[in-house]
């Protein structure tokens, strides 16, 4: 089994995020592997352990993304590829990311590609499906179970709280939903070995990609934080009066009735 996992370095949305000048401040932000990609990595490792083969984690980003790749290697991936666009591109979008990944993967022998259901930063959920389309292979999104028997694949996918069972064949791209597995903590021997595992660094040139080919199609108009949740209000007084006041407030202040 030749397994590829798409991994994205994202900021940790559970930590404090500061927006200034229309951009998220990278200084002081904590960076992690996109949590959905962790399910993808875990699933890839489990499938490799069961069926044999190799797991390669791939990311597009800058030099800093090496940390997340090393973490994936420490979890148990075999090899890592960093497509470094730092010097060539200011921006990436779903289109350009999928294009670059497709150029990298098009002449590889691929049995299975795993990606996260969405990246928690952009949240588009498009890169996986777009990539599958460019490669001309099947894809299934938001999966919660994956069984492989030869080239036959049985999948359970999450459909807004319900489940759908599908059958398909390799080669295949899937995107991982929460519930697919319980991602492992990197083991200590894994951490100690991660540095010695191969990590290939490529630039657009190495993939014969012209900067014009990957001009972004999405324009970001504005980035802002969700409004601060205002403190709640506790009403007091007679119950009758409270109910009256509540209805009144819902009508005049919250304007929901």
């Amino acid at each position: 089994m030749n397994i590829y996992v798409l991994v994205k370095r994202t900021f940790d949305t559970e930590e404090k995020i500061v927006v200034s000048g229309g951009k998220i401040q990278e200084d002081g932000a904590e960076f992690i592997i996109n949590p959905y990609d962790e399910y993808a990595i875990e699933e890839a490792i489990q499938k490799r352990d069961a069926l044999g083969g190799k797991v390669t984690v791939v990311t597009i980003g800058g030099e800093d993304a090496e940390k997340q790749l090393r973490t994936a290697l420490a979890m148990g991936a075999d090899e890592a590829v960093l497509i470094n666009t730092e010097d060539d591109l200011d921006e990436l979008d779903q289109y350009s990311s999928a294009y670059i990944l497709a150029e990298y993967l098009k002449d590889k022998e691929v049995d299975l590609i795993l990606a996260g259901n969405v990246a928690i930063d952009g949240g588009s959920g498009q890169v996986g499906p777009r990539l599958a389309d460019l490669l001309g292979i099947n894809y299934v999104t938001t999966i919660t179970s994956l069984e492989i028997d030869g080239t036959n694949v049985k999948i359970v996918r999450d459909i807004e709280g319900d489940s759908e069972v599908l059958e398909t064949t390799l080669p295949l791209l899937v995107t991982a939903q929460q519930g697919l597995n319980e991602p492992r903590y990197p083991s200590l021997p894994g951490i100690m070995k991660a540095k010695k595992k191969p990590l290939e660094e490529l630039e657009l040139d190495d993939l014969d990609i012209d900067e014009d080919d990957v001009e972004v199609k999405v324009e970001t108009v504005e980035i802002y934080l969700p409004p601060q949740k205002a403190a709640g209000r506790v009403l007091d007084g007679e119950l009758q009066a409270q109910v009256k006041e509540l209805v009144n407030l819902l009508h005049t202040e919250a304007k929901v009735i």
């Binding site: 090393r70 973490t71 420490a74 903590y185 200590l188 951490i191 100690m192 540095k195």
Partner: protein, 380 residues
């Protein structure tokens, strides 16, 4: 000078931070209340290869350094000091002397199960009449033919109920009234060996503290650990390493208490303002942060010296003395900032303080650390 952690150390820190918050923290109050040993947590740590952290790979260890050991101990102690001391004793009292003084066969037999987590590590030094004055040992081991027969008892021994074997000190000879003290490895299931887990402690309730009673316990002569008569020297060397563990625990507990105090101070409103707005609270928090930071830096220094193969005995004593005392001060202030709530179990800082007190006592009291430091200074 280079003040950064290595990539590996940072990854260990990140992993252990997540592990501590997600796996260790949730049951800490309950384990303290029920005196429940964190067995499942250590099963997971064993699967992650953490139980043999600093020991050679050929015995199932991971070959990581002392700074990494300090990082793991700090992170565990930040959320549950009982888990922290169990780990610290396992590595630095249980595994370390085997690794330092054991023969290849002894390491294969006794260090490997410690690395895999099959056995916890423990070390029996303290006795009823031999605490700070560890040379006061009264336990006797008499060699007849090629067997030691051991009689005596040990007090306050961490992890022994969960250890398959442990090293302990005993008098192996008397020459002109002078004791010859040696270390001997004893299987805990040996005939005549009783382990009692009956202490009622002030803190560290989820850790295992035991009394050992040895009545005509027979072990083969080959169970001698290191050189006969070197028992005293060997445990002094063992304790040097252990003190880094205790100091790292202190940093973890204090950091945990500081984190809780910061969060609480921002949330708690009195006189119409968050108490964090009062300079009185701010100065407390600043003092706490200063202490934690200085202690951590010094723990890393002692650990670094050890990793470099340089003398670190004085530095380990300084780290242990300073860090354990600052942990008590920081916990005290953390409770103070919590007001009446800090006195309640639910807010956890009271447990932090009960747990921290041991650090000024175990592996050499603060006074003993000062004796060690003074001895170094006066010898310079």
């Amino acid at each position: 000078m280079f003040f950064d952690l290595t990539d590996e150390q940072r990854m260990i820190q990140r992993t252990m931070k997540e592990f501590a918050d997600e796996v260790v923290a949730p049951g800490a109050i309950e384990r303290d209340r029920k005196k429940a040993f964190p067995k499942e947590i250590f099963q997971q740590l064993a699967e992650m290869g953490i139980m043999g952290l600093p020991f050679p790979e050929e015995y199932g260890g991971a070959g990581a350094d002392t700074i990494s050991f300090a990082i793991v101990t700090e992170e565990l102690s930040r959320v549950c000091a009982s888990t922290g001391i169990t780990y610290s004793a396992h590595i630095s009292l249980g595994g370390a002397p085997l690794n330092l003084f054991g023969t290849k066969e002894q390491k294969e037999r006794y260090l490997t199960p410690i690395c895999t987590g099959e056995s916890f590590g423990a070390f029996g030094l303290t006795e009823a009449n031999a605490g700070s004055d560890a040379g006061g040992t009264e336990t006797r081991a008499v060699l007849e033919g090629n067997q030691f027969t051991i009689n005596g008892s040990k007090m306050f021994i961490t992890n022994a109920s969960y250890a398959k074997h442990l090293a302990l000190t005993a008098i192996t000879d008397l020459k002109d009234g002078k004791k010859e003290i040696s270390a001997i490895i004893v299987p805990t299931d040996a005939k005549g060996f009783t382990i009692k887990d009956e202490y009622e402690k002030m803190g560290l309730n989820a850790s295992n503290t035991t009394e050992l009673i040895l009545e005509n316990v027979v072990v083969p002569e080959e169970n001698l650990l290191g050189v006969r008569g070197n028992g005293f020297k060997q445990f002094l060397q063992t304790l040097d390493g252990g003190r880094i563990g205790i100091a790292a625990m202190a940093v973890g507990i204090a950091q945990g208490a500081l984190n809780k105090a910061v969060r609480y101070a921002k949330e708690r409103k009195q006189f119409g303002r968050a108490i964090a707005d009062f300079q009185a609270t701010q100065f407390k928090l600043a003092d706490m942060a200063v202490k934690v930071d200085i202690a951590r830096t010094y723990v890393y220094k002692a650990a670094w010296l050890k990793d470099q193969g340089r003398p670190f005995s004085k530095e380990a004593a300084i780290a242990k003395y300073y860090a354990s005392e600052m942990a008590m001060e920081v916990c005290d202030e953390a409770i103070q900032i919590h007001g009446g709530y800090g006195y309640m179990r639910e807010y956890e800082v009271e447990r932090y303080m009960r747990d921290a007190k041991l650090l000024e006592i175990g592996e050499g009291t603060s006074e003993v650390q000062k004796l060690v430091i003074a001895r170094h200074i006066l010898a310079d």
